[in-house]
Assembly symmetry: C2
Homo-oligomer: 402 residues x 2
């Protein structure tokens, strides 16, 4: 059996943790399996390197930033190989050049195009544990790229897909995927399985367990993902195709406080105005989320939408700069909001789920500002103060702890 195991930066932050990871990988190896390990940079190395770059040039080109940052994983993988060798197990470290992890050209946010397997397969065939730098690729110019934060998950999935691995295990500091954040919802339950689509909705909703792109890639190449803890022996959560499992009505509830609502008041009620507003924002790289349109006074309309908190200032400036062209009379905003979402593959074929969610919120006196839905997700905007109460109410309302 071939297993790919990915460990994040905190799992290799010091000597003790490096040996802990080494031992877990060796256990798998000694069971007769082929083992490929993907590592991130140790602890806060990446942040440290970014700080270093900022002192030299706060506007450093991303190409050079990628050249700098990728040293972090190279340090991790070489130290891990040394640790395994100290434990008398043959191991070899490889960087993106040595594997040839072909990526797109875009520095700082590249995507994998193709992964060569020859070198890794050669090392596995000689019964070595192969340790690969996560987060990095090589583009067509032979330059080093990075995949953006969380990119090591994607590296692991890309390798698992290319090598036709039997399993891709993503080790984190939690036991797996929960029905809700256990720090907020005390009786949240760990899920044994979850579908790719559910995981995608949860990841993009701020569940922060798996990098979104890695789940998309796992779905595309049908790589069975396992999310488990590097600190204990818990079985974790398996992420796989919906067809293989019973579709739950509601799998989990997620909250995202990193949001702000903007309302543009009194725009002309004529075709194309809404398009122009969102097109203007898109051109400034501002992603817009839940959108609500209502009729205003005297032939005008009001449009509300949410953006990520860090985009709020920029969005307000862009709207102000284009006020006349977009026929905006006034712009208001509210930062004291949060998004609450429920996700479940079974939702598609079950009417009444939304009503049950709204009832739970009503019973807890949580006011709903805005609503947005997809086939397997319902999201509502509530006051930031209400978010914990709302999560628990909905979690209980759907009996997720049962």
């Amino acid at each position: 059996m071939l297993v790919v195991k990915k460990f994040g930066g905190s799992s290799v932050a010091d000597k003790e943790r490096i040996f802990n990871v080494a031992n877990r990988c060796i256990e798998e190896y000694k069971a007769g399996n082929d083992v490929v390990v993907v590592l991130s940079a140790m602890g806060d190395t990446t942040d440290h390197l970014i700080g270093l770059a900022n002192t030299i040039n706060p506007k450093a080109k991303k190409r050079e930033l990628d050249m700098l940052l990728t040293t972090g994983e190279q340090v991790s993988v070489s130290l891990m190989a040394m640790a395994m060798q100290a434990l008398d197990v043959p191991a070899v470290s490889l960087n993106a050049f040595q594997v040839m992890m072909h990526s797109t050209s875009r520095y700082g946010n590249a995507r994998f195009k193709r992964v060569d397997t020859e070198r890794i397969q050669h090392e596995l065939d000689s019964r070595k544990i192969v340790i690969v730098t996560g987060f990095q690729g090589v583009n067509k110019y032979d330059d080093i790229t990075t995949l953006g934060r969380g990119g090591s998950d994607t590296t692991a999935v890309a390798l698992a897909a290319a090598l036709h691995a039997d399993r891709c295990e993503i080790y984190t500091d939690v036991d797996g995927v929960y029905t809700a954040d256990p720090r907020v919802v005390k009786n949240a339950k760990k899920l044994d399985t979850i579908t790719y689509d559910e995981m995608l909705e949860l990841a993009s909703l701020g569940a922060k367990v798996l990098h979104n792109r890695s789940v998309e890639m796992a779905k595309k190449y049908n790589v069975e993902l396992v999310v488990r803890s590097s600190l204990n022996r818990s079985e974790g959560t398996v992420v796989k195709e919906a067809s293989k499992m019973e579709k739950l009505l509601v799998t989990g509830v997620a909250a995202d406080s990193n949001t702000a609502r903007i309302s543009v008041i009194g725009v002309d009620d004529k075709p194309g105005i809404a398009f122009q507003i969102f097109d203007t924002l898109a051109k400034s790289y501002i992603n817009v989320d839940i959108i609500l349109q209502s009729v205003g006074r005297e032939g005008t309309k009001d449009i509300s939408f949410t953006v990520a908190s860090e985009d709020l200032e920029n969005a307000l400036q862009v709207l102000d700069a284009n006020k006349e062209r977009l026929t905006i009379q006034k712009v208001t905003y509210n930062e004291d909001v949060a998004k609450l979402s429920i996700v479940g593959a079974g939702m598609m074929s079950n009417p009444g789920v939304a009503a049950r969610m709204f009832e739970a919120l009503y019973n807890s006196r949580v006011n709903i500002n805005m609503i947005s839905t997809s086939e397997i997700r319902i999201t509502v905007l509530v006051a930031k103060n209400d978010i914990e109460k709302a999560m628990n109410a909905v979690h209980d309302g759907f009996g997720m702890a049962d």
Copy 2:
């Protein structure tokens, strides 16, 4: 004109020094020249990384050690590119994979076989300053190698040779090559020129200005080297072919205290014994320097030789273990010795140089233990206590300060 400039770790140890180097390179670039910069790892980064490796595995495989250490130069070159970009000059950093610095396989002590110039030439053609990681290569397995300490000098010379550079400048913390170590001989004089052969003798004698292998390579490919300071604007010392310059009788004097004398007493006076002794030591990777053979008592002989201080213990063990086979009656040693050498390409055609050296030492009451000569060098072994006095005596004796 194409110029290769190499800066050591102390020249890029912090932000201020990085910008100092950036500015010097930009000056050359703005004069219309093509500039290739070779850098070592910042400050004590390499020592820090070695320390890190030692905590994980004191017997780490050199392949993994090289993988770890080479991150140091990658950090330097990317930060340097950022610094130049901050000064509005186009620059690009390249590592050994990107240049393709083909090396032999031997980890920790590789040699260059071939250097590709395509990528560098392409970047120079688009008027960028090209910043290359020193000290590292890529072997036939696509693995990263290092060239051993001081290897960045060799990288610079290898690039200068491959690119047919007009000049290869090695920046250090001294103004150039001196007739003697200025810290010991107060009236030591900076040399304007020195031959490759003289420089080779001085480098191997502990002058510590240029890495030996880099001088050998410069000689082989006729690369004009300039040794100069990164701290001031002094012209430095040019290292070039003897034919181009007046041959000085004595160019410089060098001392090396990192030595110990070993004497094997009373070995059989029959052919092949000396060979067997030095062959036995060579098989344990112990380099032997000055050798002196004298007649001992009753058909035996005594053989004395010097080894590097760090090899003393090992050499004594090896001799003891082979005592009977090598017919050794007794082994003595002395660590309180030092080597004093004078070097000069003009020596070849001038008899009496040795006599003049011995006279200067005699006048200063410095006793000579052993003598060794090459075509352009005379080395004597003296007591460690006498070395400073001896250096000054010889320096004055040949009028090197004049």
